[in-house]
Symmetry: none
Subunit: 188 residues, 4 copies
């Protein structure tokens, strides 16, 4: 039933946007009465949060799982396949992802979104720390480098799926991989 509510809420979010997502609509979409929502969630925001949490959990675990199986591959391989994994994970619910990107900033003052980014950032920092040798310089903290990369990758991936620019999936992954790897290349 929790699932049913989240599914319904997700559908409403996708169909009507954040402002169009009323508790009554969610209840109707779930085929239950408005009051029943409150047996499972304390309020509307909790529902929205749970929807986004579920989504971000799926993403994080897919990427983490993939990464943990690749840790000893050469960086270009790790990065390229990880980006592919992220892209494909996001591509499962492109509509939800659009909604999430557009509306998550308002939930808990965006804490939810920031948490997700934090988790991915930690992952990237961990990887870069392990592969400290590929970093071009010591002048910039690893966390800052990770911050640059994570934001870039996250945003470009999302926007690629939403805008569908004139690039094939593989071309896009090539570009994104190059962007990332070149960023780490030492100056000549």
């Amino acid at each position: 039933m929790l699932e049913r509510i989240l599914d319904a809420g997700q559908q409403v979010l996708v169909d009507h946007g954040y402002d169009g997502t009323s508790t009554n609509r969610i209840a109707a979409a779930a085929g239950i009465s408005p009051g029943s929502l409150y047996q499972y969630f304390p309020n509307k925001d909790a529902i929205m949060s749970a929807i986004l949490d579920r989504f971000s959990d799926t993403l994080t675990s897919r990427v983490t799982e993939h990464l943990s199986g690749q840790f000893d591959q050469p960086p270009p391989v790790v990065i390229r396949t990880t980006l592919a994994e992220l892209l494909d994970a996001l591509d499962v619910h492109p509509e939800l992802q659009r909604a999430a990107v557009e509306h998550a900033p308002r939930l808990d003052d965006g804490r939810r979104l920031r948490e997700f980014e934090q988790r991915v950032g930690d992952l990237a920092t961990a990887y870069l720390t392990a592969r400290r040798d590929i970093l071009p310089t010591d002048d910039v903290p690893i966390s800052a480098t990770a911050w640059m990369i994570v934001r870039t990758v996250e945003h470009l991936t999302v926007r690629y799926l939403l805008d569908r620019p004139a690039l094939t999936r593989d071309q896009f992954l090539d570009e994104l991989t190059r962007l990332t790897l070149n960023y780490l290349r030492p100056p000549t």
Copy 2:
């Protein structure tokens, strides 16, 4: 009077956030009656759009102006100073910018935001076309390369101002410049 309404709306948006921006508040801030708003704008969204348009116009013209005076400088200089110009332009109204980032996607289904990005993208494409020599390959359309760079730069700049990570302005500009230039570097 149009200006007055936009100023008032912008102030309310900055002070009270998107959800706190009611038409009544805007009218009060503008020193007119709620009904009078509708003499100048068909509805609330039109006001919000106009506020964001004005902001994006300011940005575009500052960057365009700067770029046109730098066209013949060496690319590293052009890019670094252009990024600085963009960063500083955005930094004038960080609160407004936050509001814009969080809420623009919902206005007109995001058409507004896309328009702005289109304009900046065209600018970048024009520059890259002129400097076609610095591109690493012909396999990827220039517009796609511009798309990658524009999204990256735009998003990182915005997030830098909002998140204020542990990087000084100059460090950040260094990183962003390197990210951009390295992206264009040919493979070894």
Copy 3:
């Protein structure tokens, strides 16, 4: 319009009791839309308070006015006519008075009602202080004596009108006057 809302609210209060007094009902009774209530009152409690305030103001001013014109009459006359004045004032809106008595305790934790009693108590204290000579003893503070009398008179008057026991108005006034005066009589 304020008056109209208060009248409507008063009617609804009388007809449906405190719990039956919804803002929607008040609005309907006033012939306006629910939203309009909030142009004149910040919330429901403010409406309820205003209704009771209006009622208690009427009472207080009638009694005060009467008392100020009688201050130099002999105590039995003052008391008897004052009680009559109070009884008649309360009798104007017996239904409202019932509602007030039954439901006022819940408003602001009863602050409203207490305020009214405070005002009447002050009046009584003032009178007793002026006529200190009729008090039987100095052992009890005047304010306590006033407290006893005010509660008694208020409650009996109210209950007389609501319960209509087997006493004529004049008999009741006789009894109430005797109760009050005898309370002040010195022991033999």
Copy 4:
């Protein structure tokens, strides 16, 4: 089980006030499910009524018991000790009493409260009839005299406990006794 529900309801009433007393809370406090309440009571009001009934039964029986053991004492003693008994009986559950006073009027249109007062009034009438000699006049029916006294005593006692004015228990009992006895004193 009936007892258990009443105990639970009473506790909730005392702890959370009338508006905070939901059937769900009562059920939880009683350690049963909401649905089970309706096996023992037809609806919420019946529960509330039963709680107040039980309370008023306790009061009546304490006072009756006391009175029956004092019938042949001199009136000043009977009255003083009876008032003391009532005061102490009410003081056992001041919070419950407050709830009772504030909300009893609304139950069954106040029938419940009136019944209680009727019983106490009958008691007083019986006593006064037995001691008819102490009445100052025959012009007023005994029941009316009892009505005056019962209301006064009941209300003052309740209010004394709720308002806690600047009077000790004994001072208050002195005053209340004097009020009652003096009311019955013949005019000079």
